[in-house]
């Protein structure tokens, strides 16, 4: 089963990391990713730009374009992983590993219904 691990964190907080802190966290996350890659379980991974770069299209008639993210929340969606896991426990284990590398915030673990691998070259 494919799981999406959606990463929520306070982006003010993440934005307050020094460059060294940011790099250190990314390096630790890379170790977790590396392990999953070797097991052939890691799908697409994305780190999103800050929500200030986001635009929201409300599907009204006519559609309404708004600046900013869909929801104003204390923690923001900052990225996601797609991981192949045999069950929820295995997905939670991956999330725990990621969480140990990058503390704070929360992961939402969502089983994937349909995944279109797309056509963008890596």
């Amino acid at each position: 089963m494919l799981y999406a691990i959606l990463c929520y964190h306070d982006e003010d907080f993440v934005g307050s990391w020094s460059r060294e802190q940011d790099e250190a966290v990314m390096q630790k996350l890379a170790v977790v990713q590396e392990k999953l890659t070797k097991q052939g379980r890691l799908g697409p991974v994305a780190r999103l730009l800050p929500t200030t770069a986001a635009t929201t299209l409300r599907k009204e008639d006519p559609p309404l374009v708004l600046d900013g993210p869909y929801a104003e929340t204390k923690e923001q969606l900052l990225g996601f992983y797609i991981v192949d896991c045999k069950d929820l426990d295995a997905a939670l284990e991956v999330a725990r590993d990621l969480g140990a590398a990058n503390p704070g915030g929360a992961y939402e673990i969502r089983p994937v219904g349909v995944l279109n691998p797309g056509s963008i070259p890596a």
Binding site: F13, G15, S16, Q21, L49, P50, T52, D67, G104
Partner: protein
């Protein structure tokens, strides 16, 4: 990340909101800062033990407020004549909880906090120092280092700035739309000043001053988060990101300035450029142009060019033309002349400089640019005079070194000809 590093980052990110709210309660900057400081000390003790609070800013506001109120009560007992104005709203506990849940004030709190730092009576350097101390929470030592002055001098500068702000009396009512707009543009200008203070450093000091650029970007993003639909704030943030994206390529290993055309573009920060371009795209949709957006659009044209010769100079010329109308300034015309030199050649560009001569007679870049145009026209003797003048006016050793490079090139180019003449 270690506990302390984690807590530091949390305190830094919560600071503008927390100090802003505490300032609204106590209407006194020193009291608000001290309350935040005390709350931070408690956080350092409590957070590692109890885990981080869900909302660090709310935690710090509550704790800071309670500690400060206790302090004021205690000092009241000692002093028979208390100052009632020292405390603006002493609410009961229930109301504090209501406050925590209602975050609607926080936008104006942060804006006010930033705004008091840009009081027009304060010279630019004091505005910046004050903002870095109060809003960003940098230590006096860190700020002194970035400004390349001693700690005691910086301490004095900040104290003086604070006293002036206290005398000025900033209104604490929720601002109306017009006033909010005025505050916003004053704050945007101050953030740009902070950035420039870091950006205009020479190669020898660029590293010490880089934190100023990063802090300015953080503040710009913060402001944009509060005012999501303001195209000029998008423009400002984009401008800072696009300029800072080039920082790794702007100086060579000896600290000499590397001009845009000569920069190794692979050193540019792609992620910052992507964010900057995304913000310009968003800003353009509003069709409410402004100086930050235009400057960001110019920076974007440079960022989009994979090689210097791919640069759309004709478009840059047009954008500088638009900027000249918005903010007439000889410096902008000077920049436009550089674009014109690429599109129409050095003679047309040189003609544009003539009317500026008087107003820019003590401006380093004027003579640097003029020398470069003259050199392209083969008027080497005049070019040398202009470059000599530029060196005399250089603000940093990197600027002087850069012009000397031109002079060396002139010498090399003209030497064989001189030899033949003999």
């Amino acid at each position: 990340m270690s506990d302390t590093a984690w807590i530091d980052a949390a305190l830094t990110s919560a600071r503008p909101q927390a100090v802003g709210a505490l300032l609204r309660y106590f209407r006194d900057l020193d009291t608000a800062e001290e309350a935040f400081q005390n709350a931070s000390l408690r956080a350092l003790k409590s957070w590692p033990r109890n885990g981080p609070p869900r909302d660090p800013a709310a935690w710090l506001i509550m704790v800071g407020r309670n500690v400060a109120i206790d302090d004021i009560r205690r000092s009241r007992k000692q002093q028979p004549l208390p100052e009632d104005e020292a405390i603006s709203d002493l609410d009961d506990a229930e109301e504090q909880i209501a406050e925590r849940l209602d975050g609607s004030h926080y936008r104006d709190d942060i804006l006010r906090l930033l705004f008091i730092c840009c009081h027009p009576d304060l010279p630019a350097t004091q505005q910046i120092a004050l903002a870095l101390r109060i809003v960003s929470g940098l230590t006096v030592k860190q700020i002194a280092r970035a400004f390349l002055v001693g700690e005691a001098a910086m301490e004095q500068r900040i104290t003086r700035a604070k006293a002036r702000v206290a005398d000025a009396g900033v209104p604490f009512e929720t601002p109306g739309a017009v006033e909010r707009g005025e505050r916003l543009s004053a704050v945007a200008a101050m953030i740009y000043l902070i950035f420039n203070e870091g950006y205009s450093a020479g190669g020898d000091t660029a590293e010490a001053r880089a934190p100023l650029c990063e802090e300015a970007i953080r503040l710009a993003r913060l402001l944009l988060r509060l005012f999501q639909s303001e195209p000029e704030i998008m423009g400002l943030t984009a401008l800072l990101l696009l300029q800072h994206a080039r920082s790794a390529a702007r100086f060579d290993t000896s600290g000499a300035l590397v001009l845009l055309d000569d920069q190794d573009r692979s050193l540019w920060n792609g992620k910052m450029i992507a964010e900057g371009l995304a913000l310009i795209d968003k800003a353009m949709r509003h069709r409410r142009s402004g100086p930050y957006q235009v400057q960001a659009a110019i920076a974007a044209l440079h960022a989009r060019a994979a090689k210097p010769e791919d640069t759309d100079w004709a478009q840059i010329d047009l954008l500088y033309g638009a900027l000249e109308i918005m903010q007439p300034s000889p410096v902008i015309t000077l920049n436009r002349a550089v674009a014109v030199s690429k599109v129409q050649g050095p003679q047309a560009a040189l003609d544009m400089l003539e009317p500026l001569a008087e107003r820019l007679s003590s401006y380093f870049h004027y003579f640097g640019v003029r020398g470069a145009f003259l050199m392209q026209l083969g008027r080497n003797e005049e070019a040398r005079t202009a470059f000599d003048r530029a060196i005399a006016l250089a603000n940093t050793s990197a600027e002087a070194a850069h012009i000397r490079m031109h002079l060396d090139r002139l010498m090399r180019d003209s030497a064989p000809r001189d030899a033949k003449a003999k």
